[in-house]
Structures are given as C-alpha cells and as structure tokens.
C-alpha cells in the first residue's frame, strides 16, 4: 500500500516532466536560441540533459525495484531474498565508479571546447566572410544601462539596437555595484564590475525584440533594470544609428552625471558617449560614481513605484 503510494508519486512526476517536454521548448527562452552563442549553449545543455535523464532513469528503476521487491511485508517473500551480511562486491563497485568517470569525461570535453569557443567572436555561417565584431560598451549604474557605441559615437540608455548576423563584442563594466548582462535568447551572461572590463560575445541570427536584463542582484531597483534588444538588418541598424547621430543631443558630462544618480530612468539616446570623460572600467574611473553620490547611495531609496515605472521601454 505504502509503496504503491510511493510509486504513483513518481509516475505523476515523470508525466509532469514529459508534459513539459512534449509541449515543446518554444517560448522557453534558453531552450529557444536566437543566435549562435545561445545555440552552442543550447546544444551543450541538451547534450548533457540526455546523460542526466539516463542517470535518472537508471537510478529510479533500481530504486523502484528495490523497494518493491524487498519490502518486508511483501507477500511470498522467499528466504533467499534476505542476506543480512552482504557487505560488498568489488566488481560491481568498480563498475559504478568507472561509468560515472566516463560520463564525466564525456561531459568535460564539449564543456571545455565550448568554453574556449565562447571567448572568440562566433564564426560566420557557411563560409561567409567574417564580419568585424561591433563593439558596444555596456555600463551599468544603479539601476540602468548605458550602451556606448564608440565607433558610431552614439550612446543609448536602457535599450539596445544591434545588427543581426554580426558578432557583437560587449565590453562590460559597472559604475557601482556588480551586475551581469543577460539576454537569454542570445546567450549566457557575464558580470559587469567597476574597475574592470569583461568581454562578452553575442550575436542574433533572427530579427526580433529580445528581453535583456541585469541578472545579478544589486539592490532595490534590481527588478526594473531591464532593457529590450532590437535585432534588425544591417541597413535598418545603420539607419537607426544615423538617426541618433543627427537627432539626439550630445551627452554632456553634466547630463551624464545626472543620469548616473542612483534611481530609475527612462530610455534615452545621445550622439556622443560618456567614454570621453570617464571609463568606469579603469582604476581611475571606478570610484567616479561613489564619490559623487555617496550621500544618495547612503539613503534608502524606497522605490515603491517600481511596478508602474516598469512600463518604460
């Protein structure tokens, strides 16, 4: 009776798993990659998932067998079903040590190669010429994003436009707390840290609007530190760039300092970048914001209204 209960629980669980899988991965962002980086990670995840499912099936099967077959009050238990002094068996112990070692090796190889691949710009598909990566400096401050395009000499706040099919080389840094840039549909995250610069390559293969966010907790406004990524054709992108170059104001240091203030801000765009006067990735730049806004950081900001203000973007 008890073991039946036990069993039915696992059946329910297993069907739950199946249900989720059968309903497909559409809409589950990590499992629905929109670029080569996310794709690589997706492949690795699915590859590992097969091993894990295999392990789970084996262990669950053994487990179910044991608790059904060897429960004390099973009708017609045989005398030979009980061996209280059984204490080991070298052969079988070697087997269940070696097989996991093999699995670990098989998991390690693609992990390591993928790791090294991710350090480089994604390779172009089908022998197309490699495109020079587009460099974007992504800087965070409590609780907003600055995206500087040094080549184009423009800067956006809280939204991002990228050309599709071209690698993007993000230069990540932070003006204050540690944060992370994460666009699940395009690939995994990396940290932004003041006084340092980390590099993250991403690329979109499909046009579309993707969700991006800071995924590393940094205080009260954390939930609102999101942005939309607009992936578009090269020409649409260029058009957007020249629009900004022509129509948006310059980003003066005064304006920038104002934007840096801890708090929430709307989206915005400028026809110059803040890199001209400060790069927070350097040791000179790392205390820029804290020095200016120490008092503000020291207040509790109480952003009760974050929910309403979420409608930015």
């Amino acid at each position: 009776m008890k073991s039946k209960l036990l069993r039915s629980k696992w059946i329910v669980l297993a069907s739950l798993v199946l249900l989720v899988f059968l309903s497909g991965c559409e809409g589950i962002s990590v499992l629905d990659p929109k670029g080569p980086v996310a794709e690589k990670q997706y492949d690795l995840i699915i590859y590992s998932l097969w091993f894990m499912l295999g392990i789970i099936v084996v262990v669950f099967a053994l487990f179910t067998y044991m608790i059904i077959k060897y429960r004390e009050n099973r009708p017609n238990r045989k005398e030979s079903d009980y061996a209280p002094n059984l204490h080991g068996n070298k052969a079988i112990e070697v087997v269940w040590t070696v097989i996991p070692i093999i699995i670990v090796i098989m998991l390690s190889i693609p992990t390591v190669t993928t790791l090294f691949d991710l350090e480089k710009a994604p390779e172009p598909v089908e022998a197309e010429p490699a495109k020079e990566p587009l460099v974007i400096h992504a800087t965070t401050a409590d609780w907003k994003w600055f995206f500087s395009y040094p080549e184009q000499n423009i800067e956006t706040v809280n939204y991002l436009h990228i050309p599709k099919d071209r690698p993007i080389e993000f230069k990540l840094t932070s003006a204050d707390a540690m944060t992370a840039l994460w666009i699940p549909s395009l690939g995994g995250q990396k940290y932004n840290m003041a006084g340092m610069q980390t590099t993250l390559f991403l690329q979109a293969d499909e046009e579309g609007v993707y969700d991006g966010r800071n995924s590393n907790f940094n205080g009260e406004g954390f939930a609102a530190q999101t942005f939309k990524v607009h992936a578009e054709s090269e020409s649409a992108f260029n058009e957007w760039v020249s629009n900004i170059q022509n129509e948006s104001p310059k980003l003066t240091q005064k304006k920038y300092d104002e934007l840096l203030k801890p708090g929430l801000t709307d989206i915005d765009s400028f026809s110059s970048t803040h890199l001209e006067y400060v790069n927070h990735a350097t040791r000179e730049g790392m205390d820029y914001s804290v020095k200016r806004y120490r008092e503000l950081f020291e207040q509790k900001l109480h952003l009760d209204k974050i929910k309403e203000e979420e409608t930015f973007q």
Binding site: V112, F116, G219, D304
Partner: protein
C-alpha cells in the same frame, strides 16, 4: 542616539512581528516565573556541559530557526505568486530572501546537524562526553548569541538586504550603510567561531575517545561523516572568519579591501566567500549522508553495503570540496582556462557521490525494508537528491552555466540538494534518534502525514522552478513581471504551502507524542534492530552514558553484543566515572561577547570594548580554573543501571 530611530518603523508587517515577538517573550517570562522554573532553567540548561542537553538545545534552536526561515519563504512565495497584491515591496523582499538564506544555512541546517552530532557521536563511540565539555558549551552559546543577534535585526536596526552571499561593493559601507549588514557580519562571526570550536572538539573526541579496540574503520558511518565534516569545518571556517573580519573593518574602520575607492577589489569578497561557501554546502550534506546510512541499514535490517567505499567517498568529497569554489562565479570572466579547470573538478564530485548512491541502493538489495517514518525520509532522499545532483553537474558545465547562473534553475538545484539532502536527513535523524533523546517515539501515523505533505509539497514547489530558470527568470526578483512566468510560480507557491502544512504537522507531532506516546522501556528502540553502540545504553541515557564500555573490534558491534547477551553494564567491572562540573561561565562569557558584537553592529565602540573586556576576563578566569570535575561513585552507577534495566 534616540531609541525611536533604532526601531524599524513604518510597516505593518514589522509592527506585527514586533508585537508578536514582544508577546511571546512576555509569555515565556511569565510562564517561567509562574511555574517557578527559573532555577531549573539555570541549573539544568544554561549551565549544562552535558553533550546530550547541549544537543537538544541546538536542535530546538534549529527548529525555531526553520520556522523563522520557513515564514520568510512563505512570504516570498506569496509575493511571487501574487505580484499584484503588493504584499511586499522591493526593500522588504530583499531583506527577506537575505535572512531566509542565511538563517536556513547557518542557523538552521548546521546547528541541526551539529545538535544530532552532539547527542549521538559520543554515544556511538562509547565516550562519556565530548573531549572538551566546557568548550562545547561555549560553542553552543556562541552559536546561540550569534543567531539571536542576527534575528533581532528584524525589529531593531533593520535586516541585511544584500543576499546571503553579501556581495561587495553592494554590501559595503557606501551602498549599504547602517546596522543591517553589520548584523549579518557579527551574527555570522560569532556563530562561526562556535562552529570552528565544535569542529575541533568533535575531531579530538572522535580521535581520542573511542571505545577500546574501536579502530577508525570500525566506527559507525555517522561518526565517520562527523569526523570528515569536522575536518572541513576546521579548514573552511577560518576563511569565513577572515572574510567577515575584513568586510567589518571595511565598513566600520574605513579600510579599502572591497571598496570602489582606494583601488579596492570587490570581487575578492566573492572569491573568499566561496572558498568557504562551497565547503560549507558539503558541511551540511556529509552528515546528512551519514544519517541516511544509519537509518537505511537499520530499517533494511542489513549491514551497510560497501562500508569502506562509503568512507573513502566522503574523504574524497571533502578534499575535492576545496578545489571547486570558482564554479560559483564562472561568469566573472576569469577566462576559459580557469573555468575549464574548475568545471572538471566540480563534475568529478559526481563520482564519489554516485558511489554513495549506488551503495545505498545495494544496501536495499536483499534486505527487509520496513517503512517506518525515519526510513521514508531516507528513501525519499534517494530519488529526490539525484534530481538536485545531476542539475548540479549541469551547472558545473561552465559554458552552460552562463545560462543557468543567477536564475531559478540554480534556486531549484540547491533547494533540491539542501532540502532533499539536509532537511530530509534532519527529519530522518530526529525521528530515528528521538527515543534516545526524549524517552519516547514520535507518533508514526501523524509522522507519515507530515512526511507526505512535505515531500509532495517539496517537489511541487521546486520542480517547476527549473523551467522558470530556463525561461530566464532571475533569482532575487521581487516581482514576477513577465506574464509567462506566473502560472509556474503559482504552482510553486502551492507546493510551498504543502511543505508548510507538513512542517506544522511535524511540530504538532512533537506535542502529540509528548502527551500520548508510550514511554520507552528498552534502550534498543527500533524492535531490537539497533546496530551501533548508542542503542546499547539505556533509555533515557544516564548522564555518564555508559556504565562500562565494551571492547569493540568490528563494525556494528551491538549486533554481536546482543547475540552474546552482553550489555554496557558489566557489573563487576564498574569503576568510578570522571565527569565535568556544570558551570554558568560559558553562557556569561558569550553573553558578553554577544554584547560586544551588538556594540559593533551599531558602531558603538565603547560598548564593544566593554563586552570584549568582559569576555577577556572570563578567558583569564578560565586559565586559572583548576576545577577537575568530580567522580560518580560505583554505587550510584549500579543503582542507576539496575533501575533503568529493571534488574
């Protein structure tokens, strides 16, 4: 400073908490006075150095902390399932997950396990007490004062709100001013020192106080797990001590370790934190493994399969645990080479853990499984823990971790290992050793209700979170602002309430059993299936534990003793037993250090100095203390044993 500014104000939740804490305190004080129990409390508990009583105090505190951490969890779950209710704002939510994580790991899981070790380890090796009973009391009170200090942050000064990992620079003075973060630092520091002392104490106890003839490879597996865990504690906790101290000095005395100014290096905190933090999670899982081994062997009525493989796998896990810390920040950008090294070392831990899983399964093979409540918890552990373990390996694959990190996939992973591993083990161990501790069993029927509610609730709560993580839901998010995430969050909350009901039933069972369970008459409570020495002594356990200690030259010595009709009361050979005297000093000394820490929290240096001087005076008193304890006479031992054994 005025008192009003100290009290956290402005929120009905907090007022509610203050009022209820106030009421409970008054009620306790009243009851103690009314029943004239103050003397009893002081003589029997506050001054005790008896490992069994200290263990019980650990476990009681841990249960209270589980309640506190659980209430935090419930509040988070309500907020996440009903974002429109506006139940919690961002600031409160941040405080709550911070206290939830910290309390659950530092003030619930560890003390619960240490409590069980306190009670059981000396009994399993045939010792009269710990090697250093006085130090043991000190450790307990250090933990207790640390926990209290951390908990009062809820009513005065404000709770810490930078996560249990307390990453800098967010948790530094510039961005988290005020006492909240100091509560975290001082609370952990105080209890951490207690834990370190316990680790040393347990190591010496196990290495030097075993029954005659008992070699290391004759020790019960729970004792082994304790030894290995203590080894990790001794080497990991000093790292935490220093990390906390450096951040404290940063915050209070203006040094520049983890600051943005003065060329500080905030990410060094993460490095130090995880050098301790990763070993820490194995500190809370290895004893759990030990408990499961004992419970499974007892209720399968069979010897543990692969004893030495079980021991060696724990040792290997312990060594590897110091070589994987970077997997908590693969996304820091340390480069492909660094990540590869730590990726592989992380995945290697799956091998010794797998060995353990298969040995448990093999122990069930050709056994006679009795589905008692303790066994149910142990059995539910195996399939549930696997799900957490294999997802841990997926996290260990650094390239994939870029997508899992900081997401609910990670949250699901560690609740699967922490709850299905540690919490199930705490319940299994408590139910299993309950008769030894309190002289009666917990009711089995009610226990099963608690079990099913908790286990089913657990899976319903955390399984969906894997998918939330894959859908990009980050952790520490106070509001589920993406519609697609909502349904799974609601399911998850339903499961959490299932666990809540399970826990409530469990607590009710404590009361019910106290009133209605049969009192134990034999020391070997589980139908005579005990295998190790703790079952050989009588129940309730006499304060000196064993009248005579048998010679041990094998694993599971009690099995043979029973066959040969031997007991731990070998009347002709009873000798006087040396016992330590009770003393109130550990309590008072730690109260002083608690005061000092409290002073530091509010940066009242004078108070800190007063407390510190008090502490130092007690240390000096201790070094001049030549109290050698006392001897229990042979007559008294004989009288006690005869009575307990009905001779």
């Amino acid at each position: 400073m005025n008192i009003k500014a100290l009290l956290v104000d402005g929120d009905p939740l907090i007022y509610g908490a203050m009022v209820s804490i106030g009421l409970v305190t008054v009620a306790i004080l009243f009851l103690l006075t009314y029943f004239k129990k103050w003397g009893w409390l002081w003589r029997e508990w506050l001054t005790t150095v008896d490992h069994k009583k200290i263990g019980i105090m650990y476990i009681l505190s841990a249960l209270v902390m589980l309640f506190r951490g659980g209430m935090d969890a419930m509040m988070m779950r309500v907020q996440l399932a009903f974002p429109d209710l506006g139940f919690l704002d961002s600031q409160h939510y941040n405080e709550i997950f911070t206290t939830h994580g910290t309390i659950m790991i530092i003030f619930m899981a560890m003390p619960f396990l240490i409590g069980l070790m306190n009670i059981i380890v000396p009994l399993q090796i045939g010792a009269r007490d710990f090697a250093f009973p006085y130090l043991n009391a000190l450790s307990f009170w250090a933990f207790f004062m640390g926990a209290m200090l951390f908990n009062i942050s809820f009513v005065i000064g404000g709770s810490p709100d930078a996560g249990w990992t307390s990453y800098t620079p967010l948790s530094g003075a510039a961005m988290s001013p005020g006492p909240g973060q100091n509560f975290y630092l001082m609370g952990l520091q105080l209890s951490g020192i207690g834990t370190l002392a316990t680790g040393i104490n347990l190591m010496v106890t196990i290495l030097k106080m075993r029954a005659p003839g008992m070699k290391l490879f004759h020790m019960p597996i729970f004792t082994w797990s304790t030894l290995v865990t203590s080894f990790i504690i001794v080497f990991a906790f000093p790292i935490l001590t220093i990390a906390l101290a450096l951040l404290t000095i940063d915050r209070i005395f203006g040094s520049q370790f983890f600051t943005l100014t003065g060329e500080g290096l905030p990410m060094m905190w993460a490095n130090l934190f995880w050098m301790w933090g990763h070993p820490e999670v194995y500190i809370v899982i290895l004893p759990a493994f030990g408990i499961f081994s004992e419970v499974i062997a007892t209720f399968a009525k069979k010897r543990l399969f692969g004893y030495s493989a079980m021991v060696w796998s724990m040792i290997i896990i312990a060594l590897l645990s110091f070589l994987v810390w970077v997997h908590h920040f693969f996304t820091m950008g340390a480069g492909a080479f660094v990540n590869s090294v730590f990726s592989v070392s992380t995945m290697l831990i799956a091998v010794p853990t797998g060995v353990k899983i298969f040995n448990w399964l093999a122990t069930l093979y050709k056994s006679k499984i009795e589905f008692s409540v303790a066994m149910l918890w142990a059995l539910a552990f195996i399939p549930s823990f696997i799900l957490g373990g294999v997802t841990g390996v997926m996290l260990g694959m650094a390239a994939a971790d870029f997508q899992f990190h900081n997401s609910y996939f990670l949250i699901a992973h560690f609740h699967y290992v922490l709850i299905a591993g540690t919490v199930f083990a705490c319940f299994a161990g408590l139910v299993y050793w309950y008769p030894k501790m309190f002289g009666h069993k917990m009711n089995e029927r009610i226990g099963k209700w608690a079990f099913w509610f908790f286990v089913i609730g657990f899976h319903v709560c955390f399984f969906p979170q894997y998918f939330l993580g894959l859908d990009g839901m980050p952790r520490r998010l106070f509001i589920t602002n993406v519609v697609e995430w909502l349904p799974l969050n609601v399911i998850s909350t339903v499961g959490a309430f299932g666990m809540g009901i399970g826990f409530a039933i469990f607590v009710y069972n404590v009361y019910y059993s106290y009133r209605h369970s049969e009192r134990e008459t034999t020391g070997d409570s589980w139908n005579g299936n005990g295998r190790t020495l703790e079952w050989a002594t009588t129940t309730p356990v006499p304060y000196y534990n064993f009248a005579t200690v048998p010679h041990v030259d094998e694993i599971d010595p009690y099995v043979r003793m029973k066959k040969e009709g031997k007991t731990t009361f070998d009347e002709p050979n009873v000798k006087p037993i040396h016992m330590p005297s009770y003393t109130g000093r550990p309590f008072i000394m730690m109260a002083f250090l608690g005061l000092a820490s409290f002073g530091l929290v509010f940066e009242w240096i004078w108070l800190a100095i007063v407390g510190l001087i008090g502490g130092i005076i007690f240390m000096i008193l201790r070094t001049y203390d030549y109290d050698e304890g006392y001897y229990v006479s042979v007559e008294e031992i004989k009288r006690t044993e005869r009575k307990a054994r009905g001779l």
